[in-house]
Amino acid sequence: MRHILSILVENEPGVLARVAGLFSGRGYNIETLNVAPTLTEGLSMMTITTTGDEAIIEQIVKQLRKLVTTLKVVDLTEVKSVQREMMLLRVDAEGQKRVEVLRIVDIFRCKVVDVSPDELVLEVTGNQEKLTALINLLQRIGIKEVARTGAVAMRRGMQE
């Protein structure tokens, strides 16, 4: 099963290597990874999506906590959470295709962030399913390039 882990770490050199090394060294898989500073100076938040059965996820969480540079690890799959990912797409938009692309842009609430005669660059945010659906649709028209951020996530305010 896919899990989203939110990891609060010291923002210092080598932290990413420690986390990434832990995954590769122990044979765990990183699907997506995202790091950025938090509001507290010196701390960064990592969001990692990974897969594994319960025992593996338990080990991953414990091993991450064991790293001296880690302050907190939360498995956001265990609580109610919101997840978003941003994606940029360079799409073929020559002639007739242009109208169709723009229609899809509308439906998926994408933004057109760059225009040229034969292609458009789109920006979209959403959960993984939405982005996958969009890719599936646009692939019929022609996607030239994709850049995705990987998921960021946060627990919801109301937990049952």
Binding site: G14, R18, Q59, K66, T69
Partner: protein, 562 residues
């Protein structure tokens, strides 16, 4: 007061109570060595950096204090990697200081540059590259704190040459608090109460102790528990010495080369108290067959050890000592009020297993059995020497046939299985305890991996004794080849070997050779009495096997007994 980085390092080591530093100089640490004579630190100049790290490790295992090792950049640093991994696998507190090329050169492939922080990231508890001399005092404080608290382990500090010469105001922190590192020492009281309850109700309990018992100095508390509730005790290689071998409850080591009684008892128990141990594959054998009917209580200071290999019924994250103290606090009054119901049937059964198939060998008049040598060492030293081992058959025979009476008297590379460890580790232990008898039980293969440290032992007048169980083979691999590879003795015969007696003498140590079983005891006694380093080359039965043996991947009840 302003000090240079090198002075800060040495002054901080002094304040941490460091007495001995094992090291080897080089270009990137000359500035530290230049200052070394001004500080009250004994420096042991080894002959290879691997010797330095193993010696620091041996010192730490023998004393419980943090071992310190100082080496230069590049090859000096990489030569310590095996030793760092050894200390990491066995949770030994060591601080390694490596020199590094000057900060402006880092990343330039400079002479003797290596990214040792990157290389050791996965085999240290933590590591640091200090780029600013103002961080140095705090980093050293943190390094000692991290190495010695929680689950202990090696911590490396990489110190660029220019940082060693820069000046800064020196202020050594008295205490340290790290927001991202807070090991749990005290057990959850509810969990302790549960453990007390199941222990009292168990009909077939067993204690399975690991290195954590030694690390947390909890051996006496463990012995109290075993005696108060009359529970048989087995232990891992790392925990030998945590329970006296002459107590009837002692079953010996368990696992691949464990005793029949220990493996049978743990396989048939209804309650396993696993304390400071980690269900290593050499202990459990085939995991799906391991102790199927037992409820498992697991106490460990490292949460990652719990539920890693086996499902646990009562997990307790705690320091072994704190846990046992808390448990005793509950059990003592409870037992006074109402004594436990004895589990006589179980005790009898366990004693039967012990009597039925004890560790054994057959010594004849012509060929020396390696087990006999270890037993003789045990007899001569009354179980009170510090025994280090190399890795392989020598290690297993030492573990099986030496009757340990005290913790921190068995020093062996358990997790990593590092050949070449025992001799430098013995040097470390002897530096810590100049008056104790320190004996490295070695094989003719392993001893050659760090033999150069004979010069160190001679130079510092360390009377370490090396007893080589010489069978002319890499014996453990040969044993596997015999049993599982149709006797295809590929690359295991050491038919070209040095004359170890002459070798010892060449280094300025003493050398003895024994070939006659009748002379084993007298030669060992003579060697042990010499106040110098000695090699005793004991020519033993070439194809003697370590038994029992559980073939890899089999259940630990499937032992090959002879």
């Amino acid at each position: 007061m302003e000090l240079t980085g090198a002075q800060i390092l040495l002054e901080s080591l002094r304040r941490e109570g460091v007495e001995v530093v094992f090291g080897f100089p080089g270009g990137a640490v000359i500035d530290i060595y230049d200052q070394l004579p001004h500080y009250p630190l004994r420096h042991v100049l080894v002959r290879h950096e691997q010797g330095a790290i193993h010696a620091a490790d041996g010192y730490a295992r023998a004393t419980g204090k943090v071992g310190v090792c100082l080496v230069t950049s590049g090859p000096g640093a990489t030569n310590t990697v095996t030793g760092i991994a050894t200390a990491y696998m066995d949770s030994v507190p060591v601080v390694i200081i490596t020199g590094q090329v000057p900060t402006p050169l880092i990343g330039n492939d400079a002479f003797q540059e290596v990214d040792i922080v990157g290389i050791t990231r996965s085999c240290t508890k933590h590591n640091y590259l200090v780029k600013d001399v103002r961080d140095l005092a705090r980093v050293i404080k943190e390094a000692f704190y991290l190495a010695s608290t929680g689950r202990p382990g090696p911590v490396l500090i990489d110190l660029p040459k220019d940082v060693q010469t820069k000046l800064t105001e020196y202020k050594y922190p008295k205490t340290i608090k790290m927001r991202s590192y807070n090991p749990t020492y005290a057990p959850n009281p509810k969990q302790v109460a549960k453990v007390a309850d199941v222990l009292r109700k168990a009909k077939k309990p067993i204690i399975y102790a690991g290195g954590g018992v030694i690390a947390s100095e909890a051996s006496e508390d463990l012995a109290w528990l075993a005696r108060a509730l009359d529970i048989p005790v087995t232990a891992t290689l790392m925990a030998l010495g945590c329970f006296p071998a002459d107590d009837p409850r002692w079953l010996g080591m368990l696992g691949m080369h464990g005793t029949y009684a220990a493996n049978m008892a743990i396989s048939n128990a209804d309650l396993i108290l696993a304390i400071g141990s980690r269900f290593d594959d050499r202990v459990t054998g085939k995991i799906s067959e391991f102790a199927k009917n037992a409820k498992i209580v697991h106490i460990d200071i490292d949460p990652t050890s719990i539920q890693k290999n086996v499902p646990v019924h009562i997990p307790v994250v705690a320091d072994c000592k704190s846990f046992l103290t808390a448990l005793r606090g509950i059990l003592e009054p409870a037992l006074a009020a109402e004594p436990s119901t004895p589990h006589e049937a179980w005790t009898t059964k366990v004693m039967d297993w012990k009597a039925e198939k004890p560790l054994s060998y057959a010594q004849d008049e012509t060929t020396i059995k390696p087990q006999f040598v270890v037993e003789t060492i045990s007899k001569l030293t009354k179980g009170e020497a510090v025994i280090t081992t190399e890795v392989g058959q020598n290690q297993m025979w030492a573990a099986q046939f030496y009757a340990f009476t005290k913790p921190r008297s068995f020093i062996s590379s358990g997790g990593l299985g590092t050949m070449g460890f025992g001799f430098p580790a013995a040097i470390g232990a002897q530096m810590a305890f100049p008056d104790r008898l320190v004996i490295d039980v070695a094989g003719d293969g392993s001893i050659q991996m760090c033999i150069q440290e004979l010069a160190t032992a001679v130079c510092y007048g360390l009377p370490v004794k090396i007893v080589i169980l010489n069978n002319g083979y890499l014996g453990m691999v040969r044993q596997w080849q015999e049993l599982f590879y149709k006797k295809n003795y590929c690359a295991t015969c050491l038919d070209v070997a040095p004359d170890f007696v002459k070798l010892a003498e060449a280094y300025g140590a003493a050398g003895f050779r024994v070939t006659d079983p009748a002379k084993v005891e007298s030669t060992l006694a003579e060697a042990f009495a010499l106040p110098r380093p000695v090699i005793v080359d004991v020519v033993v039965d070439r194809e003697e096997n370590v038994a029992p043996m559980v073939p890899a991947g089999k259940s630990i009840t499937e032992m090959i007994l002879v």
